[in-house]
């Protein structure tokens, strides 16, 4: 038996073929074009990753999330899930609305409930804790629409994940996977990075406490300097093949656009993994953060506000290779100073790979470095 979904029920929206007659005959003003990222949100609602949401939030849920970090029904929820649209549509309550992608292909059928305007300043300051447009999440909010359209999804077209299809599992599938593996406790690891030695230790330390480890890299739009999707997947395949036991570790990818909302996003990461059936989630240093916007352990602190989140966070200090300890250590286990830490900034690491140079094996497994070097341009530009 895996962990119960958030709110007790795994949401499953009916899937439909993209040429289904139910998706035909919509006039231009009954259609709403959505971005690739919004189509991903649709898919995540549809297969239950965002349970208990069955569609895009209305104003009550939205305001409650901003003010209280909870849905209107009191369940923990920290980042609004909104469908932004332009002002030139005039839908009435109960109307069916066809969401289409940029190529005008149908994405989903939604029953319109209502719409409302958000304040971009309020959204930014409450969700991201800043209105500074240097924050990528804030910049996106200010560049976007302020009209939000709410409604339940009635049917969705099964998304195509192309080269990542075989690595994409739905919550229903991971739940069956975990239970077939005989795991009753599973720890999730959220990542948007290629694995360093310190990540490996983090994961293995957590795995020592539970039955299974679920590595769940995020694929999707990221900021410049982050690893590209293909690199993340390929490096994890390399490290898993060489250093992880198949009996206690599995990986599948999560299609999701990082918000970089630090602590608030850590809560969303936990809720999504709870819906996948995980009982635990690793929360390390600066989880889902960007720049210096959040305290290094703010994402651990916020969990104190949610005694009812229904997934256990496992908190770790940052791991690193310490030259004097001659092994992997953390602030908790090693008395030595910064000068003994083996560390590379993102900038330095990107330069090393650009020059075809491998970082030391105490920092990154050679199999991982080699996998990165196989890519001409491993980083998002």
């Amino acid at each position: 038996m895996t962990n119960a979904p958030h709110g007790g029920k795994l949401v499953q929206i009916k899937q439909t073929a993209k040429d289904s007659p139910s998706l035909e005959g919509f006039k231009a003003n009954q259609k709403l074009e959505v971005s690739r990222e919004t189509a991903t949100v649709v898919a995540n609602i549809a297969n239950g990753i965002f349970s208990p949401l069955e569609g895009f939030m209305g104003e009550n849920d939205y305001l409650n999330v901003l003010e209280h970090m909870r849905l209107e029904n009191d369940l923990p929820w920290t980042i609004p899930i909104l469908l932004f649209g332009s002002h030139d549509h005039h839908f009435g309550a109960g109307d069916d609305l066809l969401l289409v992608d940029e190529a005008k292909n149908p994405v989903a059928l939604m029953e319109y409930e209502g719409d409302f305007n958000i304040s971009r300043q309020e959204y930014a300051s409450k969700v991201f804790g800043t209105e500074d447009k240097a924050h990528p999440g804030v910049a996106k909010v200010f560049a976007g629409n302020e009209r939000a359209i709410s409604g339940k999804l009635k049917a969705v077209v099964k998304p195509e994940h192309g080269e990542y299809a075989d690595y994409t599992l739905s919550p229903k599938e991971t739940r069956i996977l975990f239970s077939e593996k005989g795991w009753s406790t599973v720890v999730a690891f959220q990542t948007r990075n290629a694995p360093h030695i310190n990540h490996e230790y983090l994961q293995k330390s957590a795995l020592a406490l539970v039955d299974g480890l679920f590595i769940n890299p995020v694929l999707g739009k990221k900021k410049a300097g982050d690893f590209k999707d293909g690199v993340i997947l390929s490096t994890y395949r390399a490290i898993m093949a060489n250093y992880y036991p198949k009996s206690s570790v599995v990986m599948s990818v999560l299609h999701y656009e990082m918000q970089y909302a630090g602590p608030k996003e850590a809560i969303m990461h936990a809720i999504m993994r709870k819906n996948f059936g995980c009982t635990h989630i690793i929360i390390g240093r600066d989880h889902a953060g960007v720049g210096n916007f959040y305290g290094p352990y703010a994402a651990q602190e916020i969990f104190k506000e949610f005694p009812d989140i229904g997934i256990t966070p496992l908190f770790f200090k940052e791991f690193y290779y310490c030259k004097r300890c001659a092994g992997i250590a953390s602030e908790k286990t090693c008395p030595h100073g910064e000068e003994d830490k083996l560390s590379f900034s993102g900038t330095k690491l990107r330069k090393m790979f650009a020059d075809g140079e491998l970082p030391p094996k105490e920092f990154m497994r050679p199999e991982v470095s080699q996998a990165i070097l196989k890519f001409d341009k491993p980083f998002v530009e």
């Binding site: 119960a4 795994l10 599938e173 989140i309």
Partner: protein, 72 residues
Amino acid sequence: MTKYTSVSIPLTLHKRLEKIIAKKTGFKSVSDYVTYVLREVVAMHELKDTPEPFTSTDLDEIKARLQALGYL
């Protein structure tokens, strides 16, 4: 937006709770503390008796996919 209601508890219990939260940081009031504790308890109750969200047909189809992909 969240609305609030009152729950009666014995005054003596209220006083004991006041003492606890005076020592522990993080709770602004007895109401905050009681809300926290009750959310913890409610979540525990809600966890019980949640059925698995899949049917036996799902199970067979999904197991076949997981096997084909090498997960099982």
